[in-house]
């Protein structure tokens, strides 16, 4: 893009990058919004809707001399095309001249709009898109004003066609721009939408089974330029002009997708501000303008009636409601009584502010161990050293670059990374996917590597020579290393091996190079920077303290083995959104606010610290966890409680080196992003919102700063070995699951699979198990789950692939052994 060309738009000359699209350039440089319906800056142009017609010509040059030919007035002569051209299909070139404001162009626009409206019902008053509708806006701007069509002459078609469980199609509103079809095909790689019939009968259909249910389906409703595609969540839920947009961050995964929470004061929520929908907010570094369906439809937990609403303290052996004053006094007494034998475990979606205040509280008590939950993914310290360099943008990867994805099912763990890396592969990046089983990413891989479960680190160290060579020689290399089929030790070994590979090949300390890991939750890296580690969690497990503070970590729901050691803890102080098995055991169960009710920050997997803002009214008496910890500290005589999340962050910036530049003001900085989506002209990029809440700030790695890095010696751990009659039980991630923060999203339930275990056909034959049979997976005496067997080729021999969070009972967090029996 370094070469520049000169183009003339409406008589003004602009210098623009060669090879770029005319519509994009007119908007970016000339602030000239050429109207479009089918064109989308993230997709290939198709020139279907004809809305972007412009007059186009070229400056005439003498063929012999190459000199520009001048007319009688001394101006360059322009050779105009005899007909109007679609701007969206034009690549800019030197001497390109276009006019967008002539009578011919105006007439063309008016005619195209009128033509589109001949089959459009104009039911704007009942349409969800009304108020932020490209067709509405462009009709107002360019349309004829009156209609020559009788209503009865229009096509009248079905208005409620479910394309999947979450997306509805209104057939008569569709203007056949194919944005949704192209999104699924080009960007997602699941071509489950298509046109059917032709001419006026043309319709969007899906004939797949199941229908339109990819993890990205909601994005089609954003880019749909009319109200043809709507979500089951927001349909008839509110009018866009009633909504206030609050910038936020997805609380579910390591991508840290920038979102906008559309809230309004709602009768259904006692007249308080309520989230009506979740929309993407543009951040080209993080999620561009896309979000996964989990991000979009997984917000209902924030106002679930099951939320813990009042502080509870144990009185006479029974948890009883209390005031916050009582609860704070009670907990302070308990903390004092623990004599410094205090530890804390924080869940991976705990915001940075909460982690910091919790750490200060524990340290103030003379305690020490700060555990990260779940203790499944090691190596956050390595990501801090050799993680992807500051300024990394997965959207920049392409020809000449390489990505290795190992021991993770990205589609299920961090769908946005999967979406962006799939596109990197489309742009020509060399994509290697290594796992013990086939995952969705294999479909987009240039090469795949198979190894035995538990052997990921070994596989990383012994990559096929040809593959390793290509990876090493790539201009840029990113390794995404997960923890599927590994113990915590195994995960560490893999992360070390991956870090070593990057260091040896010199792919560290610069943008688009380095290590990534799909840590669970939204703040896996924040846990590390605030001093919490999974290794400490293991130490806590081995040597339980007298008093354990558990924040937003559902130990018993996550880990079938947790009861064993948790019973040895004398006093548990539990802070959580929901009452759970841990809070039932606790001496005090304190209600805390979800991300939607408060301010805070998350540090995403790429180490970008990002702010989320208060959007929704609080549930009951819940407080932000940082406030609880801060008040406890004050009551213990450790200085004044902080009054705002911003003040907590200020303290963090003064104490945690990596966070030195992370004042809230800095995190809220925005800049103009290409392509310029959002804003007034919704038709250009869809209803993804302009980023007004901040792009966040990425923490530099040690390698970025040129500091020495230390990976440590790689110790290949002994992987669990199944005895005769046993199999390896491999926990895997399932995006749509029954975790407490997703279960309340009732409308997604049809897409949450029934609990199952994937078994290899050879093992299944030996045990006489068929798909659909109920089987019991037994890890230890009391630890067993009954699930359906799937024999679909998804598991290697000797392994039982057991998705987590589908059953009511806890299933293993890390690789273990077990037996399978037919029920």
């Amino acid at each position: 893009m370094s070469d520049k060309v000169k183009i003339i738009i409406d008589d003004i000359e602009y210098e623009v990058p060669a090879g770029s699209n005319l519509v994009d350039m007119a908007k970016w440089y000339a602030d000239n919004d050429i109207p479009v319906f089918c064109y989308h800056p993230k997709m290939e142009p198709v020139g279907m809707c004809r809305m972007c017609l412009v007059e186009q010509g070229s400056i005439v040059k003498d063929r012999e001399t190459g000199e520009v030919v001048l007319d009688e007035n001394g101006n360059p002569q322009v050779r105009w095309f005899p007909k109007l051209q679609t701007a969206c299909t034009q690549i800019v070139h030197d001497g390109m001249v276009i006019r967008t404001n002539t009578e011919a162009v105006k007439a063309a626009r008016e005619n195209v709009v009128e033509f589109l409206l001949t089959s459009h019902p104009l039911d704007c008053p009942i349409c969800d898109k009304g108020g932020e509708c490209p067709l509405q806006n462009l009709t107002m701007a360019h349309g004829p004003g009156t209609s020559r069509m009788n209503y009865d002459d229009k096509m009248h078609l079905d208005k409620h066609v479910p394309l999947g469980d979450l997306i509805f199609l209104d057939e008569e509103r569709c203007i056949q721009c194919a944005r949704c079809i192209r999104f699924q095909d080009e960007i997602v790689g699941d071509d489950v939408l298509a046109f059917h019939e032709r001419g006026r009968k043309l319709q969007i259909i899906t004939n797949s089974d199941p229908g339109f249910d990819t993890y990205f389906s909601g994005n089609t409703t954003d880019i749909c330029p009319v109200g043809a595609l709507t979500t089951a969540d927001f349909r008839f839920g509110a009018r866009p002009w009633e909504l206030t947009e609050v910038p936020s961050i997805c609380p579910h995964d390591a991508a840290g997708s920038n979102i906008s929470l559309s809230v309004r004061l709602d009768r259904d929520f006692g007249g308080r501000a309520m989230i009506k929908r979740v929309m993407p907010r543009q951040n080209e570094y993080v999620n561009e303008i896309w979000i996964s369906d989990k991000t979009r439809f997984g917000h209902h937990f924030t106002r679930s009636e099951d939320r813990l609403k009042k502080p509870m303290i144990k009185k006479g052996g029974v948890l009883t409601e209390a005031t916050w004053d009582e609860a704070i006094r009670f907990v302070v007494d308990a903390l004092k009584a623990a004599d410094g034998s205090v530890a804390a475990i924080a869940g991976s979606s705990t915001p940075n502010e909460d982690l910091w205040t919790l750490r200060k509280l524990v340290e103030g008590l003379g305690g020490g161990l700060l555990g990260a939950w779940t203790p499944t993914h090691a190596g956050a310290d390595l990501v801090a050293q050799v993680g992807v360099g500051k300024g990394t943008n997965l959207g920049d990867l392409g020809q000449g670059d390489a990505v290795l994805i190992i021991a993770t099912d990205l589609e299920e763990e961090v769908p946005i990374w999967r979406l962006r890396l799939k596109q990197a592969a489309d742009r020509g990046a060399y994509l290697v996917v290594a796992n013990a089983r086939k995952t969705r990413m294999d479909d987009f891989a240039s090469d795949t590597v198979r190894y035995d479960y538990g052997q990921a680190a070994h596989a990383m160290q012994n990559l096929d020579a040809a593959i390793a060579k290509k990876l090493k020689e790539a201009n840029n290399l990113i390794i995404v290393a997960g923890a599927e089929g590994l113990t915590l030790d195994g995960s560490r070994a893999l992360m070390q091996a991956a870090a070593n590979f990057l260091i040896e090949s010199g792919h560290i300390g610069k943008p688009n190079n380095g290590l990534l890991s799909p840590f669970p939750g939204a703040n896996g890296m924040g846990l590390h920077y605030m001093g919490f580690s999974p290794e400490a969690t293991l130490q806590i497990m081995q040597n339980p303290p007298k008093l354990l503070i558990v924040n937003q970590a559902e130990l018993l729901a996550d880990d079938p083995f947790a009861a064993e050691w948790l019973n040895k803890v004398e006093t548990i102080i539990s802070l959580n959104l929901f009452p759970d098995a841990v809070s039932n055991m606790a001496a005090a169960a304190l209600p805390i606010q979800s991300f939607a009710e408060r301010d805070g920050t998350f540090t995403n997997g790429e180490r970008r610290v990002q702010r989320f803002y208060m959007a929704q009214g609080p549930m009951g008496e819940a407080l932000p966890a940082w406030q609880v910890f801060s008040q406890l500290s004050e009551a213990l005589g450790q200085g004044h409680a902080k009054l705002s999340a911003a003040a907590v962050m200020k303290e963090i910036t003064e104490n945690v080196e990596a966070f030195a530049g992370m004042r809230y003001k800095e995190l809220a900085r925005v800049e103009r992003q290409f392509p310029d989506v959002g804003g007034e002209d919704l038709y250009y990029g869809g209803t993804a919102y302009q980023n007004k809440g901040g792009l966040g700030v990425q923490i530099e790695t040690s390698a970025d700063k040129g500091e020495a890095v230390s990976v440590g010696e790689v110790k290949l751990p002994d992987s669990p070995k199944p005895k005769k009659g046993q199999v390896l039980v491999v926990p895997v991630a399932q995006l749509f699951n029954r975790q407490s923060t997703f279960k309340p999203s009732v409308l997604v339930h049809p897409r949450v699979p029934q609990p199952y275990v994937e078994i290899n056909s050879k093992d299944a034959a030996r045990m006489n198990i068929k798909t659909g049979d109920l089987v019991e997976v037994m890890m230890a005496d009391q630890i067993r789950v009954t699930v359906q067997a799937h024999v679909n080729g998804g598991a290697p021999e000797g392994a039982a692939v057991l998705p987590r969070y589908l059953t009511d009972e806890a299933t293993p967090m890390v690789l273990t052994v077990g037996e399978i029996k037919k029920v």
Partner: protein, 168 residues
């Protein structure tokens, strides 16, 4: 799910697949095979072709929808396309078509009660000089009048009966 087409028409399918570097290029000839087997492009047929061409069933359905010579609904055993475009109409195709419908007792696009004939009017079939004409299961019959037509219909009806008896 067993793939009936793959088993029954292995050779023909292989013949079409082998002509192209990409499996999906063979989708149209394979759809004709499916239509031959099932009489129309049933969901089953679409599924099977999708599997054979390594495509998403949605894309196969889309192709079936775009081209008019694929039947997306079950139709009569004999599918008659009568051209009523201008040159044919000048040679009496419109009257011929109306007479034919009246003779069979069906509406435009309808199917006879016994499921033997489906009659539709179509755009130009490129045989204007031999109008009135029609296409029956993709074979042309030209220079028609109602006498000729009655003969043809009787003949086809007999064929249909023979076929039905053979089935029993």
């Amino acid at each position: 799910m067993a793939n009936t087409l793959a088993e029954k028409y292995a050779e023909r399918i292989q013949h079409h697949l082998s002509k192209y570097p990409d499996k999906r290029s063979a989708v149209m000839p394979l759809l004709y095979i499916a239509q031959e087997e099932y009489g129309w492009l049933s969901p089953q047929g679409i599924e099977e072709v999708a599997e054979l061409c390594d495509m998403d069933p949605t894309q196969v359905k889309s192709i079936a929808g775009f081209y008019t010579m694929y039947r997306e609904q079950p139709k009569g055993k004999f599918w008659l396309h009568v051209c009523t475009d201008l040159p044919c109409a000048l040679k009496g195709a419109e009257t011929f078509y109306a007479d034919l419908l009246a003779h069979l007792g069906i509406e435009d696009g309808g199917t006879t009660e016994d499921g033997t004939f489906t009659v539709e009017h179509v755009m130009c079939l490129a045989a204007c000089d031999r109008a009135p004409m029609l296409q029956c299961n993709f074979h042309f019959h030209e220079h028609l009048d109602m006498d000729k037509m009655r003969e043809l219909l009787d003949q086809w009806r007999k064929e249909a009966e023979a076929y039905a008896n053979k089935d029993v």
